[in-house]
């Protein structure tokens, strides 16, 4: 239940502005890939092109190919809704639906699509997803309470539970820990380690230690200056990227000399 992603010569635009230029990258199935780089270098923008969330913004478009196990996401006739149900996403700020209970938040992907599901199946799905997100023990007694009453870290794990409840092939995470305290961050990092047994995980992070801790492969993005497009500078095993990078810019960044 996980697929690989191959990106070929991808250019990402906001209107006429080229935000990310010419990215080619191969993301392995059942692995954790981290995107690092300074602010504004296009990591998040690029991540959002991997499940066609980029085009939700007005004027945003993409040139190039993104292959999910060989199927081009941007091919003619591809429905972005199908793409997004296969490639889930967790956002920077926890965003549980405020009108729904914890249980309904987990079931949101099913219920919002009006799929019929029996109560028994729903119970199983809720428990499995919340256990998968390491949240079950904390919320099992208050599943009917609103999701917005949880702490920030719990809300973020609720969002992860919501994402895995629709059983995607790939999970994209856009700085999932940047709004969380160290303990919640640790809980999510542990969770990412468990998730890679079943899913392909791609994570954008500002925290290089986090990238080093959780990821198998790391991609370093950089930007030449404001107004210039972001580029993929180097991509390789996390260990190599942090100990012996090929590029000077990568070495400067991971050793803290800039950025």
């Amino acid at each position: 239940m996980s697929k690989r992603i191959d990106v070929k010569d991808l250019n990402v635009y906001y209107g006429d502005f080229l935000a990310v230029e010419d990215v080619t990258i191969n993301i392995e199935a059942k692995s954790v890939t981290a995107f690092i780089g300074p602010s504004g270098c296009g990591k998040s923008t690029f991540l959002r092109t991997l499940n066609r969330m980029h085009e939700v913004l007005p004027g945003a478009r993409v040139e190039g190919e993104v292959l999910l196990d060989g199927d081009n996401l941007y091919g003619a006739g591809v429905d972005p809704v199908t793409v997004r149900s296969q490639i889930g996403m967790v956002f920077q700020r926890p965003n549980p639906f405020p009108t729904m209970s914890i249980r309904d938040n987990v079931l949101a992907g099913v219920k919002l699509n009006n799929k019929k599901i029996s109560k028994g199946e729903a119970d199983v799905l809720v428990e499995r997803s919340l256990k998968g997100a390491n949240l079950w023990n904390e919320v099992k007694d208050r599943l009917d309470k609103p999701g917005s009453g949880l702490s920030g870290g719990q809300q973020q794990r609720l969002c992860i539970a919501r994402a895995i409840a629709v059983e995607p092939q790939v999970i994209l995470m856009d700085e999932p820990c940047s709004a969380l305290d160290p303990i919640s961050t640790l809980a999510i990092e542990d969770l990412i380690n468990e998730l890679k047994d079943q899913y392909t995980v791609v994570i954008v992070t500002h925290n290089m230690q986090q990238a080093a801790r959780v990821s198998d492969k790391t991609a370093f993005f950089n930007i030449a200056g404001t107004g210039k497009p972001g580029k993929l500078i180097e991509f390789g095993d996390t260990h190599t990227m942090f100990s012996n990078p090929a590029q000077k810019a990568t070495e400067d960044y991971v050793s803290g000399r800039f950025g």
Partner: protein, 370 residues
């Protein structure tokens, strides 16, 4: 554990300045009222002038006392407080005055037997003359007008809410600030400024042209009112939909949910409390309209429960005709009493609607708590 290294200063702390005693405002107020009364006694007493003079004296007295003992910063603070409280009282005055007048004049009408349960059918000047001359109870009521107001407003709401809400959804979710969206926004703004009588003439002319000349029914009035309501509903719903965080839409898209389902199941439920209270306020806005109803639904003295045929009474037109054409021209007092009673009912209706809006907002509001 802890010990105080320097002894506590026994006299006044070096960190404080002079302070007015707590009772200062009351003393100044009492003095201002007395001196104000004295001044007014010299020039001829009236309550309104007394209030203004006392307020001025109070502000001057308190600020100068404060300046003398507390320093200029505190004095400025007192001056600003006086100005803010004063403006608040001035703003409150008309409201209290209106409610008081309507209560005093309206309660006798409201308490008259059969006021809420009978119509004006068959109530002629003869009965009113008898009521004034012989002290018989004032006959006649507002049942027909209340029924008309409720039906016309309900029908107007049924027309306006779908149109207004769907327009707002188009503007926020699909319009993309394109040419059509900007044109709609412009025309909605123009519609907001349409005088209500013009809306009434439009509805009347429209039905004259389509159904036949002289078509005056509750439905025509409802169309006229919805012309006034739609822009209000569009505007308030648009604002409410706009403040739904984009993150929620993205969260829904990321779960593979289609756009229209996202709007129906995520965006609208999140904004529903604001939309509902906006709609209620729009109803409150049109429920008191008089002119458009006069030209579209005419006026009736008997009960008409069919909005689609025949002239129909409503509370505002009832008040208007009772005041302008009293049932008994010789003795207009019973008509005045009925008009004030109807005005009180109208105010109560609007107040109930406002309370309902708050209740709806609270019931639908996104839940918090653990």
């Amino acid at each position: 554990m802890t010990s105080t290294l320097t002894p506590v200063r026994s006299k006044r702390s070096a960190l404080t300045k002079g302070q007015l005693p707590k009772y200062a405002p009351y003393v100044v107020l009492a003095a201002a009222l007395i001196i104000g009364a004295a001044i007014m006694a010299l020039v001829g007493f009236n309550a309104f002038g007394w209030g203004i003079v006392s307020a001025l004296l109070f502000a001057i007295g308190l600020v100068s006392w404060s300046a003398a003992s507390e320093g200029s910063r505190k004095a400025k603070d007192k001056l600003a407080t006086c100005l803010v409280v004063g403006s608040f009282l001035v703003a409150l005055l008309p409201l209290v005055s209106v409610i008081w007048t309507v209560l005093v004049n309206g309660v006798p009408g409201l308490l008259a037997p059969g006021f809420l349960s009978t119509s004006m059918n068959g109530v002629t000047g003869v009965y009113d003359n008898r009521a004034v001359e012989e002290g018989a109870p004032v006959l006649g009521g507002i049942y027909h007008a209340l029924l008309g107001t409720v039906q016309i407003t309900l029908l107007a709401t049924l027309i306006s809410v779908p149109v207004g809400l769907l327009t707002a959804i188009y503007l926020v979710e699909y319009g993309n600030d394109g040419r059509l969206a900007r044109a709609i926004t412009f025309f909605v703004d123009v519609m907001t400024g349409i005088p209500s009588i013009v809306a009434g003439l439009f509805a009347a002319a429209f039905f004259f042209a389509v159904v036949g000349p002289g078509t005056k029914t509750g439905a025509v009035a409802a169309v006229a009112l919805s012309v006034l309501m739609i822009p209000v509903v569009v505007r308030s719903s648009e604002e409410m939909l706009k403040i739904v965080p984009n993150e929620l839409r993205e969260a829904s898209y990321a779960l593979g949910v289609r756009k229209w389902r996202t709007i129906v199941k995520v965006v609208i439920p999140t904004a529903i409390s604001g939309i509902a209270s906006g709609v209620t306020l729009a109803i409150a806005r049109v429920i008191g309209e008089t002119a458009p109803i006069l030209v579209t639904a005419g006026f009736a003295t008997s009960i008409n429960s069919n909005v689609f045929s025949g002239w129909m009474a409503s509370l505002p037109t009832f008040i208007y005709t009772q005041i302008l054409n009293p049932t008994s021209p010789a003795n207009p007092d019973p008509s005045n009493q009925r008009a004030w009673g109807a005005a009180l009912v109208l105010i109560i209706l609007v107040m109930v609607l406002n309370l309902a809006a708050r209740l709806i907002a609270r019931v639908f509001a996104p839940k918090t708590g653990r």
